[in-house]
Structure formats: C-alpha cells, structure tokens
C-alpha cells in the first residue's frame, strides 16, 4: 500500500513552464515524467539526518525574469557579489535573479574559440544537441524525490561548453541570487568539457532579504571527457529562510580530472553531496570542502568518490567548524568497484566544535569491492587543541586571538584554493560573519 503524497507543485504549473519557454517536446515530457515519479520516490537517505523533517515544500512559483540590458541593470546587491564597486562591467559572467537568468556575457575571444557560456534555458533552445545527451544523466531524475522535483522544476541555470583541446585561463563565473521567496529558485549547472580541454568555473549562491521560507533544490552536473580538467569552485551563502539541498556530480573519463572547492557558508539547514564518478582509467578527483555552522543550523555534507576506472585516484578533504547549537554530519564515502584495480582513495573529515552545544559527526565510509587497491581515511571531531592554544599564548597572544587564529588556520588551506581573489575575500567575509566577528 502506498500513501498519497502531496507534492509542492502541480502538473499544470510544470507544463506551463515548458510552454512559456518554448522547450522542446522531450524536455517538456521529461519534466512531467519527473513530476509524476516524484510522488512515488523517497527523499534521499542521508546518514544520520532525516531530511524529510526539514522544510522542503516551499518552492514558490516560476517568476518571469526581467532581462538586464546592461550590467548596471542587475540588482545592486547582486552586483556587489561580483566585484568591488558593483558597477564595473563584467565579462564571462552570468547572473540568475530568482527564477531566471537576467545577465550573461562571454568575452568575444572565448566565444570565438567555440566556448559556450549561457543560461541552461537558452542552451536547450540554441544548443539542443549539446544539452540533451547530458541533462540529468549524472544525477538521474528517478534517483530520489529531490532529483525528480529538480528535474521537473529547474530554471535559469548555467551551461558551459568547452570544445576539444581548448584551454581557458580566465575563470568563468555565475551568480545565483534570490530575494523573493515566492519565486522558484532551482538553478541547474551543466558543464561539458570535451577531450583535453581545461576550464575553471566558479559560482556563488546568495540571497537578499527573504520574507518567507524557500527551498533551493540545486543540481550540478559536470562531464569531464578524456584528458580534460575542470576546476569547480562554489560558495553557498543563502539566508536563514532558505533550505539548501544541492547535488554535485561529475563523471570523469580516461585521464580526466575534476577539482572541487566548496564553501558551505549557508545560514539555514543544508544538505549537499559532492560526488566524483571516476569512470575512466587514470581519472582523478580532488574535493576540498569547508563548512561553518552557527545558530540552530543542521548540516549534512557528503563528499563521495566512486572508482570504476583502473588507476583512478580520489582525494577528499572536509573541514567544518560548528558554533552555538549548530550540528553537522560530515560524510566521506570512498566506493571502489570491482575491476578498478590500482585505484587509490584518500579522505579526511575534521570537525571543530566551538561550543558545548555544537555537534559534529565525522563519518568515513569505505566501500571496497576490489582487492588490488589502496585507500586511506582520517576523521576527527573535537574542540580546539589546547596544546596549540597554550603554545600561542606562551608568545603573548591572548586566548581569544589564539583560538581565532587556529580556527581560521583550520579553514585556510581551502580558502586559498578559490581561483579568484574577490571571491576569496567574499568567502573570508562569510567565514568572519558566521564565526560572529
């Protein structure tokens, strides 16, 4: 017997979305199919977290985006997340405001190389053949209810395509900005890096004043073709009203490489999975994730690597700082499939707890079905090391300053990896804000 599930969206809304966008029939159909599946699928099963108890129903409705004619038409607050004075015109940037992308610019030189960088809605219409084989393929729409709802509802988003042998030195950047809780906010990021290409992309999820609860149901899919390298940096800093659920998946082919740098600086409940599927022989992944929790936040942060290819290598580091009553479940999953000989997977999860009420669980999980492999893990959850504090104090530094230095030092190695100085500064300021400075 199955119970009747009431979904947060209905069929008419989804159909209307497709027709308004002039979406191809296959997409309109797949959205409706996904919605239908959503009713019978379960929520994703997260370690030690009952996500179904969170607010996951306030999706709002699709709100038409007003196209910005120039950068200065982009809301001022959103602009402030992209550069210092927020005025300077910017190339190689895409901005989503609530349900739709309002600004996109790709430098002519990059466009001439065949690079495509636009919102996913536009890409579906203009580059259908490049989108269709990949959309919802790394994360299938029938994997769980969140994936299905995302497949039904996604809007705006980013599509980045790098042709074969093309290397891009300038990082491309997207900003996903929400300030209206009534408007559905579900961007989908799709990156396809063809053989032997190289690209660095970063995005930032932020909110303005949200007056009511909202769900951000986001998906990132990255396809790394043979010999290609993709660096993906992402910072999430939505307001307390937002529940943030994000699935990031990369499928990496022979000798390809994915690098993730993620700052989970969200202010409400958040669950994320950053998953590298090392399909090809010699494929490699590196995931560095930091997370700061405060207030009553509940966080479930998972890094995962699935080794299918021979001699594949995964590195995963997660560092989390929990203060006040925040609680976090930090999971590292290394899965090595039968046949992935000579694979190597290393993972580390560390949680620093700054108050007696803060909670942190570090769960290293190794699932290994092949003998000829190496894998390692290290996990710890605890308070600031008092031996270190004593050492610093013995040089005249106050206890408070010593602890601050240690906490920032704990997060520093990941902050330093963010491939853009302004974004690095922004990340530092989020850390300061969340640490209550």
């Amino acid at each position: 017997m199955s119970t009747q599930t009431i979904l947060p969206v209905d069929r008419e809304t989804v159909a209307a979305l497709s027709s308004r966008k002039n979406e191809p029939a296959w997409l309109a159909e797949s959205r409706l199919q996904a919605l239908e599946n959503a009713a019978t699928l379960d929520y994703p099963k997260l370690e030690k977290t009952k996500i179904e108890r969170w607010n996951l129903n306030t999706y709002g409705v699709y709100a038409d985006a007003v196209e910005a004619k120039s950068f200065s038409d982009v809301p001022a607050e959103a602009r402030s997340f992209l550069n210092e004075d927020g005025a300077q015109d910017m190339d190689n940037v895409l901005v989503q405001h609530n349900s739709g992308v309002v600004y996109r610019r790709l430098n002519a030189e990059l466009a001439a190389k065949g690079i495509i960088f636009t919102d996913l809605e536009t890409a579906v219409r203009e580059h259908e053949a490049l989108v269709k084989p990949y959309l919802m393929q790394a994360l299938k729409a029938d994997e769980h209810r969140m994936a299905a709802l995302h497949a039904a509802l996604w809007n705006g988003g980013a599509f980045l395509y790098i042709p074969k042998n093309v290397e891009v030195d300038i990082p491309l950047q997207a900003l996903f900005y929400t300030d209206d809780a009534q408007a559905t906010f579900a961007p989908h990021v799709l990156i396809v890096a063809e053989a032997n290409s190289r690209v660095s992309y970063m995005d930032n999820y932020v909110s303005g004043q949200l007056q009511a609860p909202i769900v951000h149901n986001g998906v990132v899919e990255v396809f790394v073709k043979p010999g290609a390298k993709v660096t993906y940096a992402s910072i999430h800093h939505l307001g307390e009203q937002a529940t943030d659920v994000t699935f990031r998946r990369a499928i990496v082919e022979n000798d390809g490489r994915i690098e993730w740098i993620v700052g989970e600086m969200h202010n409400g409940n958040a669950a994320s999975e950053t998953n590298s599927i090392l399909q090809g022989n010699g494929s490699t992944s590196d995931a560095k994730i930091i997370c700061v929790g405060n207030g009553e936040q509940k966080l479930n942060i998972t890094t995962k690597a699935v080794h299918i290819g021979k001699s594949s290598d995964s590195q995963m580091i997660t560092r989390a700082v929990m203060r006040e009553s925040a609680s976090s479940i930090i999971n590292g999953i290394t899965k090595i499939e039968k046949g992935a000989t000579k694979a190597n997977g290393e993972q580390t999860e560390r949680v620093l707890m700054l108050s007696p009420k803060a909670r942190g669980d570090a769960n290293p999980i190794l699932l290994i079905d092949e003998d000829d492999v190496t894998a390692g893990h290290a996990a710890s959850a605890g308070q600031v090391n008092q031996e270190q504090v004593h050492y610093m104090m013995s040089r005249g530094i106050s206890r408070e300053d010593a602890e601050n230095l240690i906490i920032r030092g704990f997060l520093a190695p990941v902050v330093a990896e963010v491939p853009n100085e302004y974004l690095q500064q922004l990340l530092k300021s989020y850390i300061e804000r969340k640490l209550g400075q």
């Binding site: 090391n385 270190q388 050492y391 013995s394 040089r395 530094i397 206890r399 240690i406 920032r408 520093a412």
Partner: protein, 260 residues
C-alpha cells in the same frame, strides 16, 4: 632597572603527583644559569610550570619577575611581562603561517593602534632569519608544520629574537641538533645576551654550555636543586657523570614522580 627573577619554594604537581618539591632560584639580568640533571628529575616540569602549562598545578611557592607575581598571571600575560620559553616540543599549527603568528605575537605586546608596520616587521624577520641561517620560505610556511626537529628549535630561537624577552628559559634546546645547528642556535643566544636579560638553560649535556658560557650551574634531582656551582661544575658533570653527586648526597634514585 636590571631584570630580577625570583623563584621561591616552588612546588608543582601533575595529575596529583608532586614533581617539583621546592625550587629556589634567583636570577638577574645579564646572568646565564644552567639547570642540569638526568632524565626524569623535574627539569622540564620547572620550565612548563613557570610558563603556566595547564597540566601542571602549582601548589606552593611564588615566582616574581621584577617584583610582579608571575603565578597570578595568565599564560599570555606572563609572556607579555617578559617571560619566554623555548619549548622542547613546539606545537604544529596548520593554516597559520609563521609570519602571521609572529606578527600577532609582536602586536599583542604593542597593543591596538600601535601595530608594527608590515615593512618593518618583514625587514626584522628577514634579518633574524638570516642570522639563524634559515631559508626565507620558513616565513610563509605553516607554523612548525612539517619542520624537522632542528628547524623547530631554530624557529623557537627566531621567536625569542623577535620578541625581545627579559627572562628566557630554554628547555633542552640542544636536543636533536647536529653540531652546525647547535652552533647557530648558540650564536643566536649569545647575540641576545644583555645586561637586562637573564637566561635559564635546561639541558642534559655540557655540549651547549661549550658555546654559551653559564655563570651558574645547578643540578636537579628528585624535584629539587641539589647542588649549585660555577661553570666548572658543568665540566665535571660532563667528565664524570652524575654518580658522584648522588654518592655525595646519598641519593639512590634521582628521579621524581615515578609510579612505585
């Protein structure tokens, strides 16, 4: 005013076990004192208790630096009052660079609004590192992380030179140093000798004292200073070992705090 450092009847315990059983010592600026003794006699405990390590509890006695009660102070206040301890096992702290750490320590002394300028700081640090024959990259490396034993010791001396303390305690600074590193560290100490700075050198061996000539030598056993003398005492200990001291004083087991 010349620095005055007085330890008076100091007793300290670790986990309830008494290790220091009444230490008396007076030091003035310009003087170098050496504390020698076999392993397990309480030498390092004395250093840690003076600095205020939380594991040690002072149960009796007092310590003053220029008349100020040291034991009443927090660890950071002791440092700012002029005490410096070069540790036997310095902590490794990832993510905090050596130079950021050092600058924080200097600024903690100077106070808000009076921070050292970056240029001046860099010049100072580079100069001192050169004296200690340290590679410049050590300024930007994370504090002691991945440093070899000798590099950590040199880094302790670098901190001493940068912080300009009044009383310096060197806790086995010579252990794990090869002869070249020992010479460099000794030169660093000698360069810091001055009328208003006192040194307390804790060591097993005479080795370091060949380079840094002490004015006074004290032998520690069973948690007490059992014998004091001039530099000739260190030489005799090096030549003959500690057995004659034990014999003279009727001590069979020189250690302290061991479980029965």
């Amino acid at each position: 005013m010349a620095t005055q450092f007085v330890i008076n009847g100091l007793k300290a315990t670790i986990e309830g076990k008494e290790i220091l059983k009444g230490i008396d010592l007076e030091m003035k600026g310009g003087e170098i004192h050496a504390i020698m003794g076999p392993n397990g006699t309480g030498k390092s405990t004395l250093a840690s208790a003076l600095m205020g390590h939380p594991k040690y509890e002072v149960t009796e006695g007092n310590v003053t630096i220029n008349g100020e009660d040291l034991l009443e102070m927090e660890v950071d206040e002791r440092a700012r009052a002029g005490l410096f301890l070069a540790m036997q096992y310095p902590s490794e702290i990832a993510g905090v660079t050596n130079s950021d750490f050092m600058r924080s320590a200097i600024n903690a002394r100077r106070g808000e609004g009076n921070e050292i300028s970056l240029i001046k700081f860099i010049r100072q640090m580079e100069g001192k590192m050169k004296e200690l024959e340290m590679n410049e990259e050590f300024a930007h490396r994370y504090l002691n992380e991945g440093f070899s034993g000798g590099e950590k010791k040199r880094n302790e001396i670098l901190q001493m030179m940068m912080l300009d303390p009044k009383i310096v305690v060197l806790d086995e600074i010579d252990s794990g140093l090869d002869i070249d590193a020992l010479r460099i560290v000794a030169n660093g100490v000698n360069a810091m000798r001055s009328e208003d700075r006192g040194f307390l050198i804790i060591t097993h061996y005479q080795r370091l004292l060949n380079y840094v000539k002490p004015d006074f030598v004290h032998v520690m056993m069973q948690g007490r200073i059992v014998k004091s003398g001039g530099p000739e005492l260190a030489e005799r200990l090096e030549a003959e070992g500690y057995d004659w001291v034990k014999e003279e004083l009727g001590i069979t087991d020189e250690t302290v705090g061991k479980d029965a």
